[in-house]
Symmetry: D3
Subunit: 135 residues, 6 copies
């Protein structure tokens, strides 16, 4: 089995705040991440695909597509944006690391199909969130 992982970066602002929680609970649960003006991160994104190696090229069939798709579906949408304010996918969805990984999976899945294996999001160099669907 061959896996190919490419890494990407985007810089974005966000605020952790859930409409399902009271103002007070938001402050308790999210602490300084609930600050109303938001804060930001240099996110690092890792996308892993698998597939057949084309015997003529020696490359995974979708390896080139991977970079184009992530660029179009994620980087252009998220980079230098405020996730809560400007990215429609986070309307009503709290932009936690967990949800960012899930939203990116949902954006890539229709384009990459079965070959998509895993989406990893580093919010800081100390926190990684990974989303995959169990088989």
């Amino acid at each position: 089995m061959i896996l190919c992982t490419k890494t990407f970066g985007f810089s974005a602002a966000h605020r952790l705040h859930s409409e399902a929680l009271s103002e007070e609970d938001n402050r308790v649960v999210f602490g300084k991440c609930n600050n109303p003006h938001g804060h930001g991160h240099n996110y690092t994104l890792e996308v892993t695909i698998r597939g057949e190696v084309d015997p003529r090229s020696g490359q995974l069939v979708n390896a080139r597509l991977l970079e184009t798709v992530v660029q179009q579906e994620v980087i252009e949408r998220f980079d230098h944006k405020h996730l809560n304010e400007e990215v429609p996918e986070f309307r009503g969805v709290n932009p936690t690391g967990e949800n960012i990984a899930k939203v990116i999976w949902d954006l890539l899945k229709p384009r990459l199909g079965e070959c998509l294996v895993k989406v990893g999001v580093w919010e800081t160099p100390k926190s990684l969130f990974e989303y995959a669907e169990e088989e």
Copy 2:
């Protein structure tokens, strides 16, 4: 499936030495790592959990607990210590990377339960030891 990995650091001294081996065998098997005065490392610890995303918070149920538990159970016990001399978990247990990963798993398991997925220990930037239980 959502996984969350947090990384931590601790600095400790250790000596590779097994009571089950002769002095001579200890020297042959562990080489300079058997030096009687010990040496040390900046260990990097990666702990991975999985779980349900709480629909209200958008976070893994145990994500916050993870940092507290690792701090209490591992960092406070191991950081700035001599593992062989001061950490009771290594009494009679050679503090190899393999055993350090296993000891950390055993310290975290009672607190994190089913959501604990993997413990990874980088002894140096070139050596990683990972412990998980097969399902």
Copy 3:
């Protein structure tokens, strides 16, 4: 001569926008960094001091003070904040990497005095801004 450099991290949102420029010029000069909702970064801060090594301790006189001062004057002020909206030092000061380095210098100088040598700010892993005063 002995120099000691400590590194720190903070996550913040900002927007590049100058009141001295027209809306149109702001867009041309700052491109996507001028996006009205802001975006964010994991900043890495490097602060360098010099000084006498205390012969009794073998440490720079101010080495311990350095961490406390940066924590109090910079990290508590900037971390998980929107620089333009919440940090008074950037009122009327565009939070570019250049100005962030200068503002941090001005915050640390009264506390660290002559021993302060250089302030470095990594906005991303590809962009470093350094501020020092020429002697």
Copy 4:
């Protein structure tokens, strides 16, 4: 289950070019990587093994063997070489990241047997190729 991963580096030149494709198709498929004079990389190799922990030593049975075997079978063969011109394993095999991972697996498998779990090749800090055999 205990896994041990060691990392290694080698610097090599290569050219992406497939004899199964026309000159024109080679240029289209591989772009600047098809440049006839070749180019090069600092490859980072990650090899993962599993196994029994020897209760006397506290180490994986093959942990020491791993470094020797990778040194002999991979680093000595690939380091400071032009993969297409000088490494017989790439005769008729396009040295893509995918094929390099597969070739390294095939070189290590006879020496490491069942304990070999995964071979990972970073061609650049943004592109990882991993090879494993499904069980």
Copy 5:
């Protein structure tokens, strides 16, 4: 004083070989780096400029120019090339780290003038070569 450093990457092949030395001396002096087919690296380039901060923008006057100039003068010329064979600046100039740093300085100086402070070239993560002109 404000300094701004931007980092860039390029992948290239090279061979260390001096026409001023005999074949035998080339082998002795450069060892495996003299291998006739060449080898390669992922070079990391750091370019440092200084200058006035424009009070309207809060940015170094040449900060934007820096990226364009390095892209045009260095990356397009060197990336995915064989330095000895395809880059005219290395005709008769051995592409050691020392000479690569000097050649890059000479390519950037006419475009960046007085504001150019230093060129740093990492050949591997363990070897840095820096070129600057003494004042």
Copy 6:
């Protein structure tokens, strides 16, 4: 001016303790670093030299010597040792980052002479100590 910096690693144990201070003062000044059993680090060492580029080789005259000298004078002496107990240079010298940098300078100076520019010691990825002699 050409500078060449090479990086090296060594793993060692140490204890911060000064004979010029009382037991109580040692505990206050050095905190957990004063723990009697010691602790340890993966130190990263950066040594910078300058010099003439040999026009025949295109390399700094002492570039090759640098690696040999650091290996012999520092790595063999310090790696996998307890600095306080086994390295005579620290007899009566507290092995702080500041003193380690100074001791390494003193070990390298007789071998590298005028071309030695700077010694940098990373005790952890967050603490750098640099020693140079002012001209």
